[in-house]
């Protein structure tokens, strides 16, 4: 079983979350690649059983510009085999807290086996760190169910 985390970060909060999820996956014995969005290529989606997407949200809860290609890759490639999760960080003082997570969620639900979503306010706190482990468990469980 192999996993990838495709992520973007502007303040460092989402990349921190990506690292925590990465470390949790590895601790559970799953080889996991951290892929910053600027290194992502569509064919990456065929190399994994689990793909998670990490993103901040922009403006009125939008997907950041640099993540649009990732979004479209899931729509155009054959990704039925993938178990997926999406996570993000944001600030609940803006409308549509982590809106980009919701937008990815709705799309991933249609095209992949969406297992789990996670929203975190700014830098992860203790409870968020605890949720990261659940996030990983849920992804691994999804793969087991699928096979």
């Amino acid at each position: 079983m192999k996993a990838a985390i495709i992520y973007t970060s502007i303040t460092g909060n989402t990349s921190l979350l990506a690292e925590v999820i990465h470390d949790n996956m590895e601790a559970k014995g799953i080889e996991t690649d951290l892929i910053p969005v600027d290194e992502f290529q569509n064919h990456d989606l065929y190399d994994y059983d689990i793909v998670t997407v990490g993103t901040y949200s922009w403006d009125n809860g939008e997907i950041p510009l640099e993540m649009e290609d990732v979004y479209e890759a899931f729509e155009t490639e054959n990704v039925k085999h993938l178990s997926t999760g999406v996570f993000g960080t944001g600030d609940s003082f803006y409308p549509y807290f982590c809106g980009a997570v919701d937008l990815f969620r709705d799309m991933l639900f249609v095209h992949t086996n969406l297992a789990v979503t996670l929203k975190v306010e700014l830098t992860p706190q203790d409870e968020d760190i605890a949720k990261c482990e659940k996030f990983c468990d849920r992804l691994i469980h999804q793969v087991a169910v699928m096979s």
């Binding site: 997907i63 249609v110 297992a115």
Partner: protein
């Protein structure tokens, strides 16, 4: 020992022999020319763009609805409305000159430009409070209300924390005092506005004075970017100047922000006590939750117990709420997918 207590020198406008890309936030070498394509912290260009995209002006908001509703407010609501309005105006009045003052000592031209934009926005905020007042009460009462804000002992006490630090920097602009000023700027923009915001959003959720709260929402949106910018400024200042990155200064930040938190609670207990529907205990928790966010933004740990946002209704209005038209990625593509939730068989953590 290096000079965290040595005055920063006021920098020359142009230093032709220095590079355009500054070598430091303070005490750096910089020609004074700004080329946004060659700056030390490229993310600052994004921040600059975001600030400009937030541009708004008070006169664009038609106050007619609020003018009609004003007489239907209770006397208590009117009184609190005017007192909060002038108190917020007095906070914004401090920011414009302080930020332009800081610009003289910052060596990175991109940061100077951002300080200039933020100072401009504070000037707009200031004007918007005047605009609201001029729509609702005659000049005589406006002036009385400003005098009231100047004389109110609780307002004075809370302003003093900020003023002492801002004045100290004016007197002797050292790196240490610049750090302290930045922390107090976070207090002002990131903590002190929120009892006022709570009041206006509380009216708005009862469909009262919505034009005023539309302006408040624009102000909050700006202030969030300002607090974010200042937090980045603090992080970069501490990273570039390790002699400032001391345990003492970490403790200074905890102590000073905690002080602001206590003053904000005290102000809320005083100004909001007769407002039905705002639970003051809950607001105390809210201020702590808010301050925890500020600590995390400057790379520190939570100081108060970890909790969920207890007053989630205090937030910036969405574009839909303000009837704006959107033109973005999803607008053009139209929303293709149905909203799904955990009832569809996945977990939302």
């Amino acid at each position: 020992m290096s000079g965290i207590n040595q005055p920063l020198s006021k920098i020359k406008l142009l230093n032709p022999t220095y590079p355009n890309k500054a070598t430091g936030l303070i005490n750096g070498q910089s020609s004074g020319l700004l080329n946004w394509n060659d700056i030390a912290y490229p993310q600052m260009y994004d921040l600059y763009q975001t600030l400009l995209a937030n541009f708004w002006k008070a006169q664009e908001i038609n106050m007619q609805d609020d003018i009609k509703q004003w007489d239907d407010l209770t006397e208590t609501e009117k009184d609190v409305f005017l007192r909060i309005n002038t108190q917020l105006a007095s906070l914004d009045s401090l920011q414009t000159p302080t930020l332009t003052h800081v610009m003289d000592y910052v060596t990175d031209s991109s940061f100077k430009a951002i300080f200039a934009v933020i100072a401009q926005q504070e000037a707009v905020h200031n004007e918007s409070y005047s605009y609201i007042l001029s729509s609702l009460v005659p000049l005589r009462e406006q002036n009385e209300r400003f005098d009231q804000a100047k004389d109110d002992p609780i307002v004075r006490k809370r302003n003093q924390l900020i003023l002492d630090s801002y004045e100290a920097f004016r007197e002797n602009p050292t790196p240490q005092r610049l750090f302290e000023l930045a922390i107090n700027s976070i207090n002002l923009e990131g903590i002190y506005f929120y009892a006022g915001f709570a009041f206006f959003y509380h009216l708005a959720r009862q469909q009262k004075m919505v034009k005023t709260s539309t302006m408040i929402s624009y102000i909050q949106r700006d202030e969030m970017q300002h607090a974010y910018f200042v937090s980045q400024f603090v992080r970069i200042l501490l990273t570039e100047n390790p002699e400032l990155n001391t345990e003492e200064n970490i403790q200074y930040a905890y102590k000073t922000i905690d002080h602001a938190v206590q003053l904000e609670k005290e102000w809320a207990d005083y100004i909001l006590k007769d407002i039905d529907g705002i639970d003051l205990e809950e607001f105390h928790g809210y201020v702590e939750y808010l301050a925890n966010k500020r600590f995390r933004q400057i790379g520190m740990d939570n100081y108060y117990p970890e909790r969920e946002n207890p007053m989630a209704w205090i937030h910036v209005f969405s574009d839909e709420m303000m009837n704006e038209t959107k033109s973005d990625f999803f607008e053009q593509k139209s929303r293709t997918y149905t909203k799904v939730s955990s009832s569809n068989g996945f977990d939302e953590l």
